[in-house]
Symmetry: C2
Subunit: 169 residues, 2 copies
């Protein structure tokens, strides 16, 4: 079901036809990328809700803090989670209310906070991360280790290209 006439055979196509073909391939790839992500993401969201009564953004915020035991500033969380500042305030408020993270003063800048996992947040995250890992491992169960690496490498190329500031091109 897939046109395997894509590589060396391209030389038989003129520029315009090749462009059309490549555009089509890019679109197919995007739709598949989106579908895969949505399928896995839906499982993760459902699992987090059913088993831990939490959400993906909350989990993601805690995951960032896990990687930075000394804490992160609101601004840094905003950047890392790719959402605007107001939302970080909201999510952080919820986590503080549950006793999972805490706001600490930043010495030298009284505007800013350093947000950190509490011991309880650390323990809770460990539980969630364990389950989360199992879901993810299962999601990529169908791939061999070599294929996982390949996928990781290719997506790295996509990511770097994406993050390049869109200059005048």
């Amino acid at each position: 079901m897939n046109g395997s006439d894509s590589h060396a055979m391209d030389d038989t196509l003129d520029l315009e036809a090749r462009a059309h073909s490549e555009h089509h391939e890019a679109l197919r790839l995007w739709l598949r990328l989106l579908t895969c992500t949505q399928l896995i993401e839906k499982q993760v969201r459902t699992g987090l809700r059913e088993q831990f009564d939490t959400t993906l953004p909350r989990f993601d915020l805690m995951a960032q803090l896990e990687r930075h035991p000394e804490g992160l500033k609101m601004k840094e969380l905003s950047h890392r989670l790719m959402v605007t500042g107001g939302n970080i305030t909201g999510i952080t408020d919820q986590l503080v209310a549950e006793g999972l993270v805490e706001r600490l003063e930043v010495e030298g800048d009284r505007r800013a906070w350093r947000v950190r996992l509490t011991p309880r947040g650390h323990a809770m995250f460990a539980l969630m991360a364990q389950r989360h890992e199992a879901w993810i491992v299962q999601a990529f169960d169908g791939l061999q280790a070599r294929e996982v690496d390949q996928l990781h490498r290719l997506l790295g190329k996509v990511k770097r290209h994406q993050q390049r500031p869109a200059a005048g091109d």
Copy 2:
């Protein structure tokens, strides 16, 4: 959990160490997959909003209808867009209000509708699809045609595995 005799190099690691390593690789892959999708999706959403004052779900619904000129039933749209039925009603209502799609009676089943693009919807979609394609092509600009194919193939494996009904779990 999965096929064991994958790669010669792995034989230097015991089972547990290999499991740890593979779990870690799966997690890294998932984070990268999610990031790539979010980066591209954000661009698409922004473009659709700024240039066409529309949203991704609306665009996706129209894209499905484009591929099925004879129309699709609400149930089919619900399945294809992977959202529950009530949402399809809402999105369809909006598109009908804008004159971009229409509900037609299904002969032989007076419960169901056949939803189809109007001529105006068809024309509007052509405009949007053209811009959309440009965004996507640019997103994968950094890959060679062969890499696009590879990525597509690997994600196909992920997708099929994902859609397999989760049996003994």
